[in-house]
Point group: C2
Chain length 360, copies 2
């Protein structure tokens, strides 16, 4: 297992090579990655400050979260609500020397930039996301195990959905059944999308109060976390006898899905794998109805590197985890999307995490 | 009802008075407030750009969200994943003239600052949160109605909790019972904290797998949204006969809670109301065990202005909504927190949204 402190040391080394004097890590996701602190911990200012020149690392958290800071084993400072974090930031950066370049995450709130200017005056702000993404894309055995556990729980949710689909139930009710089954299976349910009938043709429509009817196509896209790591699966169900058109479209999406997975190899790019899935659908005349990328990486975020999309021309490394989720959406009629979670193992083998394939 | 476009016009007027040339609104909460677009809509770059000089307003969303953009009635531009938002931003800002000062929300991602620099070159970034907070603190009748509906649903959740508390159930299971009851009552459940036994003495501890035991104190803090507006209530329950010490502490917290609510009047500061609640607890010797502020504002965010805390020296305006939630936490023993949701009505009257007070 990679301990948080190894990750911090690796990050310091990477930042040194990029001319960053000071880095402020403040997004819950990267704090979780680097310190092990639970994702839900943060509301007040919380940050890991890394003085690259000295290697000095300081975690700053509100006094209320001191217990979490202690658990990280990292040097830390706390502050009370009434004093605010400025004094702690000043102490954490006082030994840094002249700070000309400060590294920030792109998702960090602009407020943190303003706070740091208040302490340090002028500096150049620099994007350190590529460094963090480059570290996070390679999952270790523990991380792969967490994703596997999340996927297992989502499969329980999908089984519960298959049982619960009947005429008259609402999309929101069905989403709740799925969430509860995921929770029963020991994971934390995330977003669960249920799209029925014509809604199934609109990717990313949120579940609403539409009642499911006989003859409906139902797209269920469910996410969950285990130990803060995401799984994300989609299956397409029908209520009643599927039409010939549905059978044809489903078969085509499944073929694109399977072909893309068969093509996965370490070192191929996300763009290449996208082209495999897209090629199957285009060759059959439905290219215009596959209106999103083929997949996205999974980890502490539900969408992270690598992306299985036309513009992701980096190779997929060992340890990377991503979805393969082609879809065809026929406006006003129905949509089909099928999503699996795939890893390239540390020895280069391809791991398919999910295995539940009901016949619609 | 205040239509989103009135809000946008008011915002433009306020920004003009502050020397801002261009404002970029990109947090889901403020986009919801200004455009009416549902909060869960955003993942890719989405923003409202306001050219203050010309009054030109442009909503930029990914092509996938065009339907939502149309529903706002605002001028909009879309972009495809493969092209990215830069072209749309360029078009939206081309008529702005020389942009020297750009307004951002403090919660906006730093990435958006970088994106805008790529289009506009150098500019001064300015915090426009005070303008937005000043608008959002005053709720209209619709907003008050949404908060009331959220509170009603949370009360159903608390009733369900009272029924479900028994020896052997876990904190997470009880939290799920509460979430489901809230959903059944027609609201969207938010964070639900269940803290039992010694955990009840740790504010903001997340529900865990501890099993509730006979004699436990159980603090339940539940949030929910209706129409994206938050309610937030806390009640403290016991399983079995409460101890004399619990009865005394509970009575003291309830007295602090009631006194603070009785003191609410438009124009008094948050700090003053905080001092009323704190005074009751301090006079009785437990000041050191009331380790957080007395309350926070409610609206599209679960924590927003006004704050009922020692450092909030602004007057509470008509239309403001906030919690009153004193607590006493005896480490290693138990804690008691009681939280109500209060509004100062548009005519200056005090509205208490919640009314469910079980006898422990």
């Amino acid at each position: 297992m990679v301990k948080p402190s190894d990750r911090v040391r690796l990050l310091l080394r990477e930042l040194e090579g990029r001319g960053v004097d000071l880095a402020l890590i403040s997004t819950p996701v990267n704090l979780r990655y680097l310190t092990g602190i639970g994702l839900k911990a943060f509301e007040r200012f919380s940050a890991l400050l890394l003085c690259v020149g000295t290697g000095e690392v300081t975690l700053i958290v509100p006094k209320l979260d001191e217990g979490k800071a202690i658990a990280t084993g990292l040097p830390y400072l706390t502050y009370l609500d009434q004093e605010g974090p400025l004094g702690a930031i000043r102490r954490a950066t006082s030994g840094c020397g002249g700070v000309r370049v400060v590294g920030f995450e792109g998702n960090a709130p602009i407020r943190n930039l303003w706070v740091l200017r208040g302490v340090l005056g002028r500096f150049r702000d620099e994007d350190i996301d590529p460094v963090l993404a480059g570290m996070r894309i390679v999952k270790d055995e523990d991380e792969l195990g967490s994703i596997k556990a999340a996927v297992r729980a989502i499969e329980e949710g999908l089984r519960a959905a298959r049982e619960a689909i009947k005429a008259g139930v609402t999309e929101t009710w069905l989403a709740r059944v799925i969430s509860n089954a995921i929770a029963e299976a020991g994971a934390e349910p995330g977003d669960v999308l249920v799209q029925s009938g014509p809604n199934s043709a609109i990717p990313h429509w949120l579940p609403g109060n539409r009642r499911i009817q006989q003859g409906d196509v139902i797209v269920v896209d469910a996410t969950a976390t285990y130990n803060d790591y995401y799984g994300d699966l989609t299956r397409t169900f029908t209520l009643g006898e599927p039409t010939a058109e549905f059978n044809r479209i489903y078969g085509l999406v499944k073929e694109a899905h399977d072909e893309a997975i068969r093509a996965v190899k370490p070192g191929l790019t996300g763009a290449f794998i996208d082209s495999v899935a897209r090629g199957v659908i285009e060759r059959n005349g439905y290219g215009g109805y596959f209106i999103h990328r083929t997949g996205h990486g999974l980890g502490l975020e539900v969408h992270e590197e690598p992306y299985i999309s036309g513009d992701y021309d980096k190779p997929l490394p060992r340890g990377s985890v991503f979805t393969i989720e082609p879809g065809i959406y026929l406006p006003g009629k129905f949509g089909v999307r099928l999503e699996s979670d795939i890893a390239i193992g540390l020895n280069g083998e391809v791991i398919i995490f999910d295995s539940y394939w009901p016949y619609y």
